[in-house]
Subunit: 337 residues, 2 copies
Amino acid sequence: MPYLNHQILLDSHADGLPEVSNFIPAKQTINHCDADKVVIRNHYLSVDPAQKGWMSSAVNYASATLGEPMRALAVGQVVESNLEDYEVGEFVTGWFGWQEYAHVGTDKIRRKVDPDQAPIKYAVSIFGLNGLTAYIAMKDILAPEPGETLLISTAAGAVGSIAGQLARRWDCHVVGLTGSDQKAALCCNEYGYHAAVNYKSDDWLEQLRRACPNGIDKYFDMAGGWITDQAIHLMNHFGVHAQVGTAAVASWDPVPQAARRERVILLKELTQKGFIIFNHTDRYDEATTQLGNLLHSGELRFHEDIRDGLDSAPQALVALYQGTNLGKTLIRLIGEE
Amino acid sequence: MPYLNHQILLDSHADGLPEVSNFIPAKQTINHCDADKVVIRNHYLSVDPAQKGWMSSAVNYASATLGEPMRALAVGQVVESNLEDYEVGEFVTGWFGWQEYAHVGTDKIRRKVDPDQAPIKYAVSIFGLNGLTAYIAMKDILAPEPGETLLISTAAGAVGSIAGQLARRWDCHVVGLTGSDQKAALCCNEYGYHAAVNYKSDDWLEQLRRACPNGIDKYFDMAGGWITDQAIHLMNHFGVHAQVGTAAVASWDPVPQAARRERVILLKELTQKGFIIFNHTDRYDEATTQLGNLLHSGELRFHEDIRDGLDSAPQALVALYQGTNLGKTLIRLIGEE
């Protein structure tokens, strides 16, 4: 005490793609710790596709507030505590925002993190939204069966790469859609996809058709938009489509127009189901345990795109939508190289 | 023998709404009954919304063939038989088409009909596609729970009126969408809907909102199109939407454009699922038994729109899409008044 706290505030809503100019740096001084709070020094900040939705002025399941540090998950260490259950020196993860220090109560803390179990940064990557989303949406919506063809869009991303490895482990024929030849190669060479297609290729749909000779049974879809407009026609009767994200739709204001899907859904008796990780907290324990087992036995690979310093956060978010990142994007404030 | 067989042939595909000019009358003489066939004298022909899809030149789950009697369910009596399991005088229902006589094998026969159990016409109405669709789609996709708000589009129709009565029986708050004030009144007065809204009213969406003060949990949707574009925004989180028909979409050639639904599906974690009755034959027994019980105890009401004479069939089909019919449309060739 006191702590000089550098922050990245949300300065304006973004209804299209996020821009660096939506954010503004700020600083404050934390002079004391409130009676029902702790002060946390953030070590890693999370950068997630979902932040685009939180920045929107439209109604969403969660919103970032103008003039406040950008809503984000983070992992850090307790440096002051007036909460009985939290001791100075313990690591915790939660909604600590894009800032160096978080002065928060229990409502913002998700859980404690044991640094002896795994690197603390995993709390906001594999054990954060990405791994949980991959495991729970796969298991609860798609329920993949051995031999089924499972398509994953944004296949090389922080969520997709884990989903792909899970599907492979569950003995599916696993096919990925991704935005570059380099990422397609990564899908096949690192994440165990049987095939991966670069949707920026002119003949991507024909490539996808060849990669799915028995059609598509299950579709783990974080893209939506024009990609899914095409891919959905390769789905088999009684196919299941999990809508986990909509990265291929640049803006929802106004809501873009597209070919109606009622007929293909009806004729193929498809199931489509939306998924938001925050409404499935009862499934976190199973997911964390299963992912932890795979990780410790060396069977799960994932890439991190670690950028240093608070000021790199806005550009890191922008890069998510340019498709230039690889794997999970993290902002490192303190920590091992 | 011989039988002079008047027929209504499909003369041209219809990719928009069916027109009388898509059909042409014809006659043939059936001089003998093949070794593996029967000759059936049709008593009632079915007129169904699904026939529009069968008339399309686009790929569908089933098609009517140009130059053949229009694909249709019918119920009739065996007048000649070379099939061991079928005796002259027995009643049967199946794919006998819009014609006076059907010279068919077992592939076209769905089942025998007992005239002592119920009027034979029920085989193509309440025990035909309509009742089965209502029961099975409701039970297997929507699984209504007491207290849930259940919306039904084309609420006064042959399927919707049964679905509404089932939902009421299962203690849902049942709300209908229909195309006239007269039908809306019928929904409430005859079929037990708690409320029904005429979607041709200027303020129909506001009326619907008031009729669903707790939002919509389940949606039995035979309309799709512009009606569902609006109604879907009233659905509750984790709502379930059964796509059983697309009557509000006049043509699928070209596929019409509409506002993308990925975002509302994702944010509300909705489930949407298509349904085609023909892929659920394993559920027919339960549905027929349950509907029969309700019918015999006088708890199920349904309206029939019976038109006399083979030549009335094309206009009866056209009328389905004008919304001027009430209940299940049947063509009577022979039978009680």
